[in-house]
Symmetry: C2
Subunit: 157 residues, 2 copies
């Protein structure tokens, strides 16, 4: 199971945007240059964060992207699921109900115990990512980092 | 991110083999008929469980597959990782070290905090699956199930 390569891009882009001053924005081209990523494809991926409400896109000469809500209210899970969707990596096709061993429908009203355990593991994964916000991430950075990020990302300190 | 469809097949096959009497085996064809799965492809997938030591393959007229160790020592994680490998779904390509924002190597001796959080989530997923053995799964089944499984899988009660 693999997350899209753009998962890393969007986690980093969102963390960088979380270091801008309130109201400031960065364009897709600026973010692409900052991380040396393909600009057109990155721009498309950033839209998935806009649709999820993680980012807001503004238009006009100074338009670009900024956080859609406070960094403390954006979790890593919201970013990852904006990129990849929220479905479990395990797919239960109910093979317990097919073939020579098929169980009667009456015995299949509860989810299969194997599917339930796989769902439990996915929930543990989700809980871990939901427990960390962008504000938590920024709080771990050296104190000098946000100023450097702003300067290199937008050209404005 | 998606696990292979055969993940469900192999979890169920291993759980069924865990219900056989000691020393009894079931062939790939029997397992395929039991769950109505494509026999040749299933046989290939079962080999991944043999390579992982989860199953043992025996040859000869009554040959087939049986558990490679006691059901209490086979975890769901071992089965899932035999199918899909053990790597994390998140790939860190160190984009923090590229582009205009590239961090100096000296600041990148520690893993990126975002990669570390993604790894933590993967470990939470792994821990959940490692905490459940095939014996735990069998213990949840109705008391009449193993006899039915044996009869329908191998034709021997």
């Amino acid at each position: 199971m693999k997350l899209p390569v753009s998962t890393e891009w969007l986690l980093h882009c969102a963390a960088s945007l979380a270091q801008l001053d309130a109201g400031a924005t960065a364009s897709a081209a600026q973010l692409a240059a900052y991380y040396d990523l393909p600009a057109a494809y990155l721009a498309k991926q950033l839209q998935s964060l806009v649709r999820a409400g993680v980012l807001t896109a503004t238009t006009g000469p100074r338009g670009g992207f900024r956080l859609g809500r406070p960094a403390s209210e954006i979790t890593l899970l919201q970013i990852v699921e904006a990129v990849d969707g929220g479905s479990s990596p395990y797919e239960c096709r109910e093979i317990r109900q097919q073939g020579r061993g098929a169980l009667p429908a009456a015995q299949c009203r509860e989810p299969c115990i194997l599917a339930a355990k796989m769902a439990e593991a996915h929930e543990a994964w989700r809980r871990t990512l939901a427990a960390t916000s962008l504000a938590d991430i920024i709080a771990t950075l050296p104190a000098s980092t946000p100023r450097r990020t702003r300067a290199r990302l937008t050209g404005r300190p």
